[in-house]
Amino acid sequence: MRYLPHTDDERRAMLEAIGVGSVDDLFTDIPEEARLNGLLDLPGHATEMEVDARMRAFGAENLSPAAAPSFLGAGAYRHHVPSVVDHLIQRSEFLTAYTPYQPEISQGTLQALFEFQTQVAMITGMDVANASMYDGATSCAEAVLMACRVTRRKHAILSGNLHPHYRDVTRTTLQYTEFSVEETDVDPQGKTDIPEIGKDIACVVVQNPDFFGRIQDLTALAERCHEAGALLVVVVTEVVSLGAMMSPGEMGADIVVGEGQSIGVPLSFGGPYVGLLATRQKFVRQMPGRLCGETVDQEGKRGFVLTLSTREQHIRREKATSNICTNAGLCSLAFSIHMSLLGEAGFTKLAEINHAAAVAAAEEIDGIEGVSVLNDSFFNEFTVALPVPAEKVVSQLADQGILGGVPVSRLVPSQKDLENLLLVTVTETNSSDDVAKLVAALKEVI
């Protein structure tokens, strides 16, 4: 077996050195009745060539968005990732390192994390960010828990126009704690209408652009939150939007969480992605997850370490701010490398390209008879009202090799009144030709 170096002679010599007769003697602590004699009921080992073919066969059964005009979004977005990114994250020293607990020999990971934290803080308009979470939805749940700790209150209001998975994950995560959530109605037409913020509310959570793509000024909502002693948590599922839009920090957000997948991370059927979490300096000690900080070494040279670990589970155990241990290390590195390639000029231009392409596509789609675009504002994703159920249309488009968008009913199946709505995303990867094909196909199937 190519990964296992020992020869039988070596195994025998080692057993002799240990002073046992056979390898079975090393497993005698396993209760006899639970020992497995013989092999598991699975195929034998395979050559690399066989594995390669097998995995390729799985891939061949899928329609790759690279091979089809694709307009899917709803929390995961297809963008061009520069070749440098994947090349660098496959360097052994990044790929096969552990969590940087030994800072003297982990400065590469640590400095990259420090730079990642800075980039995330900058684009969200916040003071500080952590070293990443599992994904956007788990970041959202952690932000609500954090807000409860900061305010010492127990309830959160989630906007109905927050991505349904984010609402589900937050509800699931909080269900056995002393904290609870209430959710406002899903409303593709209106502005998020947050009810009165009572004195027991720890935070209000809104997404911007929201699940239907609409952009809102949250400044007044932030003021209402702060007057009531609550925090405003802003969720961003498409981080490229931050290159074009006023940042959540400028609007008064207290915690910003997001899905960082759009920058540097492949779609990969939904994971692994990279959760972002940024906040104000004064809340740092209530943050979940790993944090990297600057310090100096014995010789006075600048260096970086994981810090404030007294918040974390390996020190605080049941009193930790979160049970999280792993972060999204390599995905945060990919994010950071892509963001470094973009820079100020590239990131803002990429956002501009996305927005312009989406505006142009929305105009064309809105021109189809019986079809209308609901949004008066959006970034690169908008909601299209069809005369028929969107799921059926999407299925018919798929038969023609077009990934035409995400039916709202896929994520909000319980609401029949939303079944004709289709979420359409247009990014820099979509050509005018792609859009023309989508428009033509929509005309045909409707």
């Binding site: 891939g59 994250i89 003297e104 020999i105 590469g108 500080v128 788990t138 990297c292």
Partner: protein, 517 residues
């Protein structure tokens, strides 16, 4: 003259220039420094070429960004060089021995990386119509089948994103099962040697954590455990093999006792590598166990993630598994995405979309590569290697528990007593010798713990050299009368010891331009 590992040999006491003079650049030959990315930007440079945007009237609702973000502008070769230089300041499993106990730093095969990037696997969107992702769903289904067979368990929840996330999944399923029976239980029993994530997870599920002491032989104290059981106990969270590297040989009794008390048995599967193909959690009475795909099944640690932590479940807990999951029926594969129908009792959703697909692909490639024979050999070689190290060091480092160990060998610091050299100092001296240190000061139940997990990937030569190095260091600590040698280690790493206290006292968590803050 070179010794047998290529080092320059020098007579003891002959001196030599250990304090290297500073260079003008701060670089030292191949050891190249790089400033923060923010200190390298020049406006006007760019690392990507983008087309011109279409001319349209913006629809940003009047909320277009006005100010600068502050990101630095660099060319592609600058960015490449920055990260290449950074990478060279990292230790990695590819470069050397990484005996980090509890972390299973094994070889990460590259066919796995290749597969994760194949067309139709790495580039598909999670919300494509199911008819366009039948291969992806089949892959997840197949991995689930392998995991069920390997563990002897009837069900598996695939979506948890890491080990601790898997713990959360398992304990939530336990709580949901109790609530479905109308039972209110408030306590969870956790051995004192447990990973910190266990109590943190139990707390997040609303349970009080009740710590169970260890016996003198390093296993959980069965009598103390039994005495703590009661109608308010939701279950036990037990790592097996445990964090002392020992198999909990009373495990079947523990399972029977907790079941008799109406509780469930959560097994922390962090150390599953040790027992692959030798026993199955399903035969040990386990109700839920997470599997760290990034440990046992070789998906790369990536400097701290991403991980993946599928959770196998017993029949009792399976109905409460989180959504989504893949279902196979006459029409092919589909996703059960909502809490309804067959999933009506599901405790909810843990993650956006369906799970860590990129990790699933790698783990399945790894399993296919090994097959039933290779998986069993993994456990046998991992355990063989750990015991070889245990025996090779036990006359110079004290093993707190007698007898054979599983996949990791645990030592304490008693032979270093009165030398002025601590476990930490030994670890830092190991860095200069070209090793990543073992896990230190964990488990907490052992004084000055050193937990060494070699994994199955290492050759006998590597283990012999490691044993020789450790013997040399312990000998130096005990006879050298030179604690400063250790206190000043490491000397040859990109940075010397860092001021961690200072970092925590006045946290600097981001770069800021001169003159701000």
């Amino acid at each position: 003259m070179l010794n047998n590992v290529g080092r320059q040999t020098r007579p003891e006491g002959a001196g030599g220039d250990t304090e290297m003079p500073e260079t003008f650049t701060g670089n030292r030959a191949l050891n190249l420094e790089t400033p923060l990315i923010f200190e390298q930007g020049v406006p006007g440079r760019i690392g990507v070429d983008l087309p011109e945007p279409k001319k349209v009237k913006a629809k940003l609702g009047g909320l277009a960004r006005k100010g600068r973000i502050g990101l630095p502008d660099l060319s592609e070769p600058q960015v490449l060089r920055h990260y290449v230089r950074l990478s060279r300041q990292n230790y990695s499993i590819d470069a050397g021995f990484y005996p980090l106990g509890s972390c299973t730093m094994k070889h990460n095969p590259r066919i796995n990386e290749k597969a994760a990037r194949m067309p139709g696997l790495g580039d598909i969107h999670p919300l494509q119509p199911e008819s366009t992702v039948q291969g992806a769903l089949a892959l997840v289904y197949e991995l689930a089948e392998w995991l069920k067979t390997i563990t002897g368990m009837p069900a598996v929840a695939m979506s948890p994103a890491a080990g601790a996330h898997g713990e959360l999944c398992g304990v939530m399923a336990m709580r949901a099962a109790h609530e479905a029976r109308g039972e209110v239980r408030t306590r969870i029993l956790v051995p004192e040697s447990a990973h910190g994530t266990n109590p943190a997870t139990a707390a997040l599920c609303g349970y009080k954590v009740d710590s169970v002491p260890a016996r003198a032989d390093g296993r959980m104290d069965l009598e103390a455990f039994e005495a703590k059981l009661g109608p308010d106990v939701a279950g036990v969270m037990l790592t097996n093999p445990n964090t002392c590297g020992l198999f909990e040989n009373d495990i079947r009794k523990i399972a029977d006792l907790v079941h008799a008390a109406g509780g469930y048995f959560y097994c922390d599967g962090a150390n599953f590598n040790a027992i692959l193909g030798r026993t199955r959690p399903g035969d040990l009475g386990v109700d839920a166990m997470h599997i760290n795909l990034h440990k046992t099944f070789s998906t790369p640690h990536g400097g701290g993630g991403p991980g993946s932590g599928p959770v196998v479940l017993s029949d009792a807990l399976a109905p409460f598994a989180p959504v989504p999951y893949v279902v196979k029926d006459d029409n092919g594969y589909r996703l059960q995405e909502d809490v309804e129908g067959d999933a009506a009792q599901s405790f909810g959703r843990m993650k956006t979309f369906h799970g860590q697909m990129g990790m699933f692909i790698r783990a399945l490639a790894y399993m296919l590569s090994h097959g039933a024979d290779g998986l069993k050999q993994i456990a046998e070689d991992a355990v063989l290697n750990a015991n070889y190290i245990r025996v090779g060091l036990k006359d110079v480092l004290h093993t707190p528990f007698d007898g054979v160990c599983m996949h990791e060998a645990l030592f304490d610091d008693s032979t270093l007593k009165d030398t002025g050299v601590s476990t930490l100092d030994i670890a830092k001296a190991m860095i200069d010798e070209g090793y990543h240190p073992m896990t230190m000061y964990f488990p907490l139940v052992v004084h000055g713990a050193m937990l060494v997990e070699p994994t199955e990937s290492e050759t006998k030569e590597t283990l012999d050299l490691f044993i020789g190095t450790m013997r040399h260091l312990v000998d130096k600590a005990r006879t050298g009368n030179d604690p400063d040698f250790f206190k000043n280690a490491p000397r040859y790493s990109p940075r010397r010891r860092l001021d961690e206290t200072g970092a925590a006292r006045k946290p600097i968590l981001r770069w800021a331009p001169e003159g701000t803050e």
